[in-house]
């Protein structure tokens, strides 16, 4: 179709589409009048049954924990997919061999030199960021946050190191093999906790750990454990994902020269 034809065709269809959608939405209860029962039942029972105060975390990692397992693997598969799609091609490698002189430490491969002040500031932020990320992960069952949110925060820490211009350190921190193993270990731990439930309790992902005292950091049984596993997986996964994109920009700088 030509651009104009496509536009007219789309606009007509979209008007009808919107009509159909609004017709459907009209059948919903008015906003602000959620009728339950699913969420209400869980709000009532989750704290007693699982000794957690953040019900969303309980839903995520226990009542509907299997969804989250699937979600972890969506992330996992996209990281693998991203690595596969952004892998270096033969011809790219070849041209790299030609420019062998430009090794990792060469100035060509580095980010623009930041000023000392930026350096100190960004590197100084890494510590608090990591602590904050860990805090968010560890308190998942108590307050808003959890393995997922904390994991992403943790994943941005190595990026600060990169922004500070310390590429060598950055490479050390994000040692590819290690991060890959960490990611798989996180995903594997989630699966393993599920298996423990299957073997000891007869149902996949059933809680088999002590529940602890409500409000304490070690409460929630498997919820706390899965939370940690998720934190590891998500942090490593996002490091790999961001790294895959970052490497693309590095590679072109290497080849492009000036």
């Amino acid at each position: 179709m030509k651009r104009r034809g496509r536009m007219i065709f789309f606009l007509l269809s979209a008007a009808v589409f919107a009509g159909v959608y609004l017709w459907g939405l009209k059948g919903l209860p008015a906003v602000g009048h959620y009728r339950g029962p699913y969420g209400d039942v869980l709000n009532q029972v989750a704290t007693y049954e699982r000794h957690v105060t953040d019900i969303v975390t309980a839903v995520n990692f226990d009542y509907r924990g299997f969804d989250t397992l699937g979600e972890e693997f969506i992330l996992f598969m996209s990281v693998v997919g991203g690595t596969v799609l952004l892998r270096r091609q033969r011809e790219e490698e070849k041209s790299e061999h030609k420019d062998q002189a430009l090794s990792d430490e060469s100035p060509e491969r580095q980010a623009p030199e930041p000023s000392d002040a930026t350096r100190v500031l960004t590197l100084g932020l890494v510590g608090p960021l990591v602590v904050f990320g860990l805090y968010i992960v560890a308190h998942g069952q108590l307050t808003p946050g959890g393995g997922f949110q904390g994991g992403v925060i943790l994943a941005t820490a190595p990026l600060l190191v990169y922004l500070a211009g310390d590429l060598k350190k950055f490479k050390q921190i994000t040692s590819h093999t290690l991060v890959e193993v960490a990611e798989a270990a996180g995903a594997g731990a989630y699966l393993a906790i599920g298996f423990a439930g299957l073997i000891l309790g007869g149902a996949y992902l059933r809680n088999v750990a002590a529940l602890g005292k409500t409000g304490m950091i070690n409460s929630g049984g498997t919820i706390a454990l899965i939370n940690l596993a998720t934190g590891l997986e998500v942090a490593a996964g996002f490091v790999l994902l961001l790294y895959a994109f970052l490497e693309q920009t590095l590679e072109i700088r290497l080849r492009g020269g000036k």
Partner: protein, 606 residues
């Protein structure tokens, strides 16, 4: 509660995680062996689940959260014979694809196997789950693996474009599904399919219609039903062959499976009084899909694209089977998926063999070049006959089931659609066979010389001279299996029983929400004479052969006056398959709008 139920999902995922962790330390052979063993194990577990489900559907509540007073707190797997059968079939095709890829591209690394195992786990979960949102999660997991697998050959721009078109349209489809789920959740406060179905009861209003249209359209994007089918040919043309096998053989069919499941568990209650309206929509859409796919199929010279359009056509037939809304037809759909998946997978594998051997999948370029590959030629020929639903193949059982069902509701005309689809798709494949394996027809005529050449990137290191057994055996095995299923007595009856279980909405609800033990009553023996069906199917096969030979002969009319309008229509049809993602999404929007309006108008007229 069965402890086996979660394994078809978690075992492949576990091995995928392990393989990815050991990515740098595991050699190709070891990772291949692990992947194949895992697939076999998964298939065996699914097989055991299938045996259990024949007595009573298997239910597993994750986390041990069984429902309380009819409210489901957790996620359940509800494994009935059709779901378990889909999972077994998935494992089988993944196995064939993995064996084939033993000698396939040199770039195959551990990560390829990780993606394949993730894809396997996702498809099994998709087939087994009883929770609507969980269905969406597995839909997305399937997509995430599939996008990467589709774009695996990153060297080629077409590959990237095809994968992008696939990714974008399917993601829009996924959000349609999610919006539909949201509507249902807002109404019922439930995500468990049985509970949603029970809460909805028989009430039909705008919300239910919209939710049905959104969810159906979303899954139809995956299933490649017109007008949501455009991505399929692009994705198939560019994806590596083993991946095509899975796309055409099972992923697309799972889209139909999901609509079937959702319809029979959730929407059959509200639509019970309006079945004829649903039928009208589905029969029309199915027929259009079947004819469009068949016509487009016949016009291709890129063999993988040709096979892809044939899949579109056959999905149209499956949609018709679904649209009949009868158990005979549903059983027919299940058998047709089996039969079609087997022969289509075999055809793709042979296309992969040709690509491996001659570095091309262009029908005209390959003219006469495979004359000495006798065994491969036989497999290709036989698979083409299976595509025409020749009696003896499982596709024939499926076709007769669907048509019997259609006759039962007075819609015998659908036979014509089956004949057209079978004739054109099988005719196209047989034409390829004649040209490539027999050297028939002219090599390159003036018209085609000017046509654009097809560049298909090589998937293997060098065009080798022999054919590795690992590449040939899966293709031959799949065709033989399609024949074996077609000739086994009692298959039809067993599948009919399974279909009755799938359609039993109240039974499903009681089993899931109340742990009720309702034993499965086997379907009664069939006594429908199949003589007439036999004649029709042989006739279709013969017509396909005749069409193929005619198109290879000098008498093929290309410029005759009578042909011109046909050529014009075909040209128009080809023009809308533009490869432009904007067009695809515009058609998608149109499709959803049209589905909604048609259903609403039909329902209000009554």
């Amino acid at each position: 509660m069965s402890t086996l139920a979660p394994l078809p999902v978690v075992i492949p995922l576990s091995v995928a995680a392990i393989l990815s962790a050991l990515n740098k330390f595991v050699g190709r052979r070891l990772s291949e062996a692990l992947a194949i063993l895992t697939t076999i194990a998964t298939g065996l577990i699914c097989g055991e689940l299938l045996l259990q489900a024949r007595v009573q559907p298997v239910i597993h509540w994750f986390g041990g959260w069984t429902p309380r007073a009819g409210v489901a707190l957790g996620i359940s797997f509800v494994i009935d014979p059709i779901g378990a059968g889909a999972a077994v079939f998935t494992s089988l095709l993944v196995l064939a694809a993995l064996i084939f890829s033993l000698h396939y591209f040199d770039t195959v690394g551990t990560l390829f196997h990780v993606l394949m195992l993730g894809f396997l786990g996702a498809m099994c979960g998709f087939a087994l789950t009883g929770d609507l949102f969980n269905l969406f999660v597995f839909f997305e997991l399937m997509s995430a693996s599939a996008f990467a697998l589709c774009g695996y050959k990153v060297e080629e721009p077409e590959s990237m474009q095809g994968a992008l078109n696939f990714g974008i349209t399917n993601t829009v489809g996924a959000f349609l599904v999610l919006s539909g789920i949201g509507l249902l959740y807002g109404r019922t406060g439930a995500l468990n399919m049985a509970q949603i179905g029970r809460t909805l009861g028989g009430n039909l209003d705008g919300l239910v219609i919209t939710a049905f249209v959104f969810i159906m359209a979303g899954f139809f994007v995956k299933a490649a039903v017109f007008p949501f089918h455009f991505w399929l040919a692009d994705a198939h043309a560019v994806a590596p062959t083993p991946v095509c096998v899975l796309f055409s053989g099972i992923m697309v069919e799972l889209g139909i499976y999901a609509v079937l499941r959702v319809y029979w568990v959730i929407f059959d209650g509200p639509f019970a009084a309006h079945r004829w309206d649903v039928r009208a929509l589905l029969l029309a859409v199915g027929s259009i899909t079947a004819v469009v796919g068949a016509v487009m199929c016949f016009g291709q010279r890129h063999i993988k694209r040709l096979l892809a359009f044939s899949t579109v056509s056959h999905v149209g037939l499956l949609t018709i089977g679904f649209g009949v809304l009868k158990e005979d037809a549903l059983a027919g759909v299940a058998l047709y998926v089996l039969g079609h998946g087997l022969v289509k997978a075999a055809l793709f594998l042979v296309a992969g063999l040709l690509l491996h051997r001659f570095s091309s999948v262009d029908e005209l370029e390959l003219h006469g070049r495979a004359c000495r590959m006798h065994a491969t030629g036989v497999v290709f020929f036989a698979a083409a006959l299976g595509l025409a639903s020749m009696p003896g193949f499982a596709t024939f059982l499926g076709e007769s089931g669907i048509i019997d069902g259609a006759k039962g509701i007075g819609q015998g005309w659908v036979r014509a659609v089956f004949v057209i689809s079978g004739m054109l798709t099988a005719g196209a494949v047989l034409r390829v066979w004649g040209r490539v394996f027999r050297g028939m027809g002219k090599a390159d005529d003036a018209e085609t010389a000017s046509a654009k050449k097809i560049d298909e990137g090589r998937e293997t290191k060098a065009a080798s001279h022999g054919i590795p057994a690992a590449m040939f055996a899966p293709a031959a095995g799949l065709v033989l299996l399609a024949i074996a299923i077609g000739l086994t007595p009692g298959v039809k009856r067993a599948v009919r029983t399974a279909a009755i279980v799938m359609q039993d909405r109240t039974g499903y609800q009681a089993r899931v929400l109340e742990h009720a033990w309702i034993s499965v009553t086997p379907a009664e023996e069939e006594h429908t004479p199949i003589g007439k069906g036999l004649a029709w199917s042989f006739g279709t096969t013969a017509a396909a052969l005749a069409l193929a030979f005619l198109s290879l002969s000098p008498y093929w009319p290309t410029k005759h006056v009578l042909v011109r309008p046909v050529a014009k229509t075909v040209h128009l049809l080809r023009a809308i398959h533009s490869g432009h993602v904007g067009d695809y999404v515009a058609f998608l929007t149109f499709g959803v709008a049209a589905f909604g309006v048609v259903l609403a108008v039909l329902i209000h007229l009554r």
